[in-house]
């Protein structure tokens, strides 16, 4: 690399379509991270090249192809959607590049076991939490905070909900609790009475319910009419962390716990102020801090991998960046201390799962359109022991 050439990083974000707010959210985080360094790394300009990866495998594939054809790119931030990551990962990996996703949560992306649906390839990293970590935190919450000794899990056959149910059940058992029921409903079911009756027979303290709408609405509402489940508490997964859920469920939603992303702290407040100055307003979604952290660990890895040559030139090997990134340990980010793991099913996971919280639905969310609901438990600050992953 000649003395006056800039350092180029690529971006694959969703810029068009229904979830383009996710892309805007990440883009702001990336820009602020670059700005924070005055646009300079190792005395050179940082240049950012953005491609639209849409929210589909095809979009991810196309964006990855365009970026990997550009020899000057040292690493890529993206994608937003897990589906786009599936499309992009093989190309990025083949090109020897790295990609750091700010908002993917699908467990399969960091799982190397292809037989179990895993699709991880070398070069893939993410700063958003793995769905599995969410599951572990949720199990921890059930035992440590709610004091539950028995749990039932219900999924809907979707790999996402089934994976989460399995992790919660396993973690709950590890923590000494009893898994008394593991069942499923069909997508499209409206009548939950028969599974609820089965659950009432074993009468668990907690039901873990990672379902989507509308099954979760039906389930929660009909639970009110089942004898024997009066004292059972529902914990919903990230799929129910959405504004429409309390209203669509009605009165029965009050008291349900749902888990979702939460970033707090002074550094984050400074970040928000900077956002208001530079981008304007408030971030449109919940993963801007993850994008900020992703950009920072990429730039740190580039700095670590760079070798100064005689005459002011710079040698940056793609393989070296990948190694440096994988070696990231305890990097102090906005979303917690980042350590990139290497072992499947967490291969490439850099998030700690600490930037998560358990929220509790109250009447204000059901009747007055309040969102987000109050935090019942913040895993970053309230967790007694930050359980080891």
């Amino acid at each position: 690399m000649a003395p006056d050439e800039p350092i180029v990083i690529g971006g694959m974000l969703v810029i068009s379509g229904a979830v383009s707010y996710l892309g805007e959210d990440s883009l702001g985080g990336i820009e602020l991270a670059i700005l924070h360094r005055d646009g300079q790394l190792l005395g050179r300009e940082i240049e950012f090249v953005l491609e639209d990866s849409l929210c589909s495998a095809e979009g991810g594939q196309a964006a990855a192809q365009r970026l990997s054809a550009d020899e000057s790119i040292v690493g890529v931030i993206g994608t937003n959607c897990s589906s786009a990551a599936q499309g992009a990962m093989p190309i990025i990996s083949d090109a020897g590049l790295v990609m750091i996703a700010p908002s993917n949560t699908s467990p399969s992306l960091t799982d190397e076991d292809i037989a179990a649906g895993g699709s991880h390839l070398p070069g893939y990293f993410r700063t958003s939490h793995n769905g599995l970590m969410e599951g572990m935190r949720n199990a921890e919450f059930a035992t440590d905070v709610l004091g539950a000794t028995s749990i039932a899990t219900v999924h809907d056959g979707d790999p996402y909900t089934e994976g989460l149910s399995r992790v919660v059940a396993a973690s709950f058992a590890d923590l000494g609790g009893a898994v008394v029921f593991e069942g499923a409903v069909n997508k499209g079911d409206t009548d939950m009475a028969s599974i609820l009756t089965e659950i009432a027979v074993v009468n668990p303290d907690v039901i873990y319910l990672p379902l989507f709408e509308p099954e979760i609405n039906f389930f929660a509402a009909q639970m009110q009419h089942i004898d024997g489940l009066e004292d059972t508490v529902i914990i919903g997964g990230g799929a129910s962390f959405m504004a429409g859920f309390p209203e669509n469920t009605g009165e029965a939603a009050v008291g349900i716990y749902v888990s979702g992303p939460l970033v707090t702290g002074n550094a984050y407040n400074t970040f928000l102020a900077a956002w208001d100055d530079e981008v304007g307003g408030t971030p449109p979604s919940g993963y801007h801090a993850h994008a900020y952290d992703a950009t920072n660990i990429l730039l740190e890895a580039v700095a670590a991998a760079a070798v100064e040559l005689e005459g002011g030139g710079l040698l940056i090997g793609r393989g070296a960046i990948r190694e440096a990134l994988a070696a990231t340990e305890d990097y102090p980010g906005l979303t917690g201390n980042l350590t990139c793991l290497e072992e499947s099913p967490f291969a490439g996971d850099c998030a700690t799962g600490a930037a998560l919280a358990m929220f509790v639905i109250t009447e204000a969310e059901v009747y007055d359109d309040n969102w987000p609901p109050p935090v019942a438990w913040n895993f970053a600050s309230d967790s007694p022991g930050q359980a080891e992953l």
Partner: protein, 354 residues
């Protein structure tokens, strides 16, 4: 039973007889295992039964639409589930408005009546337009043609309503007067379920009166008997057919609201598909073309679905029994078609109708 002993031996009859025995055996063994284990309490059985009866009465209301149309035109209107959706989905906005103004909780009975009439009229309009635009031009063509058209119309309606109201989920607002439960000897039956069952029953009685006692009902029966002769008697066939679609549509729309009181969640453009298929099953179960048959078939299906998985399947040690609820419903359909093609209350159809 065991016809083959007297008649000539037939493998088909033999297989069917073996099947009969196996099914009865499975049901008895499953039920015996469940009941003798005592896992599920009496109160829980009553809960399941009551929910099944309410769900069944909603199936019955929709099933009547299938049966009325079949009785007159001998066609299966597969878009009928969408007629139900049209009323239910449109009325959700009306219900929200009534809730916002507080009228829904001040005058619950009147508000619900208004909602039922509103939904009924919406679905009636959709059903009549469907008949006028999609089916009437095809009258007299081979029977497969209107059937395929009905499937096309079903998709058309689904995506039209998705375009109109979006693809998100809506929910009916809760009615305070219907919350809570009647408590009889430690068994709680939700007020909403009793209300749902009673209002469905009233609507069905109205329909029975309309068909059996009124002048237009007599015309409907005449058209169903023989269109040509009815025409010679001075009956306006087109009008009667349109009226029949309208009545079926009204019942489906009101079923949409009643369903919204029973299961308020999950209102979207696709919500008519499964109830439509289930109601069709109920209509066949009771004997298609037969009005009391559709009512009975609906109630029967609702109760079987509610109790079957826990009673029979769980007793046979089948895992995930609750997921096989639909299997029970459609197995019932297959069994009825094998053992009693005319349905529970159906008469043997004449050559012309069959």
């Amino acid at each position: 039973m065991f016809k083959w002993k007297t008649d000539e031996f037939s493998w088909v009859d033999f297989t069917i007889d073996v099947l009969r025995v196996l099914i009865v055996l499975a049901v008895v063994v499953g039920a015996w295992n469940t009941l003798s284990s005592g896992r599920i309490s009496l109160a829980q059985w009553v809960n399941l039964f009551a929910a099944g009866l309410s769900q069944g009465s909603i199936y019955a209301l929709i099933a009547l639409g299938y049966t009325l149309v079949y009785g007159i035109l001998l066609m299966i209107n597969f878009a009928h589930g969408e007629v139900f959706m049209a009323g239910a989905f449109t009325t959700v906005f009306f219900a929200e408005a009534l809730n916002r103004t507080g009228f829904l909780n001040e005058q619950p009975l009147l508000a619900i009546l208004l909602m039922i009439v509103f939904a009924g009229l919406v679905s009636m309009t959709v059903a009549i337009l469907l008949e006028r635009i999609a089916y009437r031009p095809l009258r007299g063509s081979p029977r497969l043609v209107p059937l395929i058209t009905a499937i096309g119309a079903s998709f058309f309606l689904q995506y039209t309503f998705r375009g109109l109201y979006g693809s998100g989920f809506k929910a009916y607002p809760g009615v305070k007067a219907l919350q809570g439960a009647f408590s009889i000897g430690g068994i709680n039956i939700p007020v909403a379920q009793v209300f749902v069952f009673c209002s469905a029953l009233i609507l069905m009685l109205c329909l029975y009166w309309l068909v059996e006692r009124s002048r237009i009902g007599k015309a409907m029966r005449a058209v169903s008997e023989n269109k040509e002769v009815a025409r010679l008697m001075g009956i306006d066939i087109d009008w009667v057919i349109m009226f029949t679609f309208g009545v079926g549509g009204f019942l489906a729309g009101s079923a949409g609201v009643i369903n919204g009181l029973f299961r308020p969640q999950g209102v979207n453009f696709y919500m008519g598909f499964i109830p439509g298929i289930k109601a069709f099953t109920a209509a066949v179960l009771g004997g298609i073309g037969n009005i009391p048959g559709a009512m009975l078939g609906g109630l029967f299906l609702g109760v079987i679905e509610a109790i079957g998985p826990n009673l029979v399947l769980a007793g046979l040690g089948i895992p995930g029994a609750n997921q096989l609820k639909d299997v029970i419903a459609f197995t019932m359909l297959v069994l009825v078609l094998i053992f009693r093609p005319q349905g529970i209350l159906g008469e043997r159809l004449s050559e012309q109708k069959a």
